[in-house]
Symmetry: C2
Subunit: 228 residues, 2 copies
C-alpha cells in the first residue's frame, strides 16, 4: 500500500521503517525537507539526526507534507499531538479527503514535567479534533496506548494484551486492523471501542500509562481480562 507517515521523530521513523520492511511504499512527510536532512545534532528528545536514519532506510523517501499526502493512500499522523492539526493542515485537506488517516498522536503537555498532562481531555480528544478539522478524512485512532517499540512489535510483550481502534468509518477501521495484523497484533488483541469519541478513553489512559512507565519503563502494555 502507498503510505504517508507524517512526522520525522522517533515514532514516525519506527513506523515508516517497519511498514517499509513489510513491503509498503512509504513516504515520510516533513515541513522542510532540506532542514530535516541538514540537521546534524540530536533533537530535544535525544533522537539522532534524520539523515542517519535515512541512510539506514534508503527505500523510504522523505518529501514535503503535501507531497507525502499526495502519495499516501493511507496517511499516518505520527506528529507530536500539540502540532498535529497544523501539520495536517500543511499536508492539505484535499490530500486527506476520502483517505484512511491513522492517528496515533497524543496531545501531551510536557510543560509541567513528568508525568505529562494532556493539552485537553474529558470533553474532547485529539482524534475528535482531527476528524472535525478534516471531515472528509476517515480518521482511525489507534496505537496511541503503547510505546513505539511495542506498536511495531507487540510480541515484545508476552501473552495476551490489547490494542484499541476508534473511528466513525467501519471500512477504514478494517483497513487499519489489517495493518495492525501485519505489525504482529493478533486479531483477538484488537478491540474496536466504537466511534471517534472513544478516543477520549485511550488518550486519557495516557496519564496512568506514563505513571506506570516511570515505574516499570515503557516495555509494557495493558490487557483487558474478562470474567468467564
Amino acid at each position: 500500500m502507498k503510505i504517508a507517515v507524517i512526522g520525522t521523530g522517533m515514532v514516525g521513523r519506527a513506523l515508516a521503517g517497519r511498514l517499509g520492511g513489510l513491503g509498503h511504499d512509504v513516504v515520510v512527510g516533513t515541513r522542510h525537507v532540506d532542514q530535516t536532512l541538514q540537521r546534524t545534532e540530536r533533537d530535544a528528545m535525544g533522537t539522532p539526526p534524520y539523515r542517519e536514519w535515512q541512510r539506514a532506510h534508503p527505500a523510504v523517501r522523505l518529501a514535503t507534507f503535501p507531497e507525502a499526502g499526495a502519495h499516501g493512500e493511507l496517511v499516518v499522523n505520527a506528529t507530536a499531538g500539540a502540532v498535529s492539526l497544523s501539520a495536517l493542515e500543511a499536508v492539505g485537506k484535499t490530500h486527506l479527503a476520502g483517505k484512511v488517516l491513522l492517528d496515533l498522536a497524543v496531545p501531551l503537555d510536557l510543560s509541567h514535567g513528568m508525568p505529562p498532562r494532556l493539552l485537553f481531555a474529558n470533553t474532547d480528544s485529539l482524534g475528535e479534533q482531527i476528524q472535525r478539522a478534516f471531515p472528509d478524512a476517515r480518521v482511525v485512532k489507534t496505537l496511541n496506548t503503547v510505546f513505539t517499540e511495542v506498536m511495531i512489535d507487540p510480541r515484545r510483550v508476552p501473552g495476551q494484551h490489547n490494542i484499541f481502534v476508534a473511528g466513525e468509518d467501519a471500512a477504514a477501521k478494517l483497513t487499519v486492523e489489517g495493518l495492525l495484523r501485519e505489525l504482529g497484533w493478533p486479531k483477538e488483541a484488537i478491540i474496536d471501542l466504537g466511534g471517534i469519541q472513544t478516543a477520549r478513553g485511550t488518550e486519557m489512559y495516557m496519564q496512568l500509562y506514563f505513571i506506570l512507565a516511570e515505574k516499570f519503563g515503557f516495555d509494557f502494555n495493558m490487557a483487558v481480562v474478562r470474567a468467564p
Copy 2:
C-alpha cells in the same frame, strides 16, 4: 479493625458487607439515619432500599456521618464523587485526623449520558482534593478502577490483573494493602503508583473503563503486562 464506610449505595453496602464478613467491626455512615431506613423504593440507580440490605446484614450498624467517623479507625469513602467532599465534611475533620481514609470514589459527571465524563481531570483528582481538604487524614486512593463485585472478590476475574494504590503515607498504604489482601487481591496484583497525585491516572482511566464496560459489561479488569 473498626471501620467506617461512608455511603449507603451499592458500593458502600458491598464493601461494608464484605468487610463485616471478614470479621471487622463495621459502621455505615449516612446523612440522616431515619430517612435512609424509611425509604421503601429503589433509588435512581435502581438500588433496593437500605432496610432490605440491613435486614440481611444485622451485624453492620447504620449511624450518622459523625458517629461513623468517630467509630472508624479506618474510614472508607464510598460516596458518589460529586458529593464526597461535603459528605466527608459532615463526617468531620476531627474524626478523620490521623486516620487512614480509603478513597474509592470517582468524580463522575453523569449529566451527559454514557460513558460518563469526569467532573475534573488532568490537572486535579478527587483523591488530591480530599487530601487537600483533610490534610491530617492519610488518604489512600484505591479500588476505583473496578466494578464493586470485582473490588470485593477479585477472583471473579481469572488470572493476573491489577489494582492500584496512591497516597502520601507509606504506613497508610501498607494498612490498605493489608485490607486488599483480605479482600482477595494477591500481593503481586497490587501496584503502588506513588503519591496521591497519581490518583489522576486511575481516575482518568475511568473513561476507557466505562467504554469497555459498555462493550463487555463490568466484569473485567485490566492487567499490566510487562516485557521480560
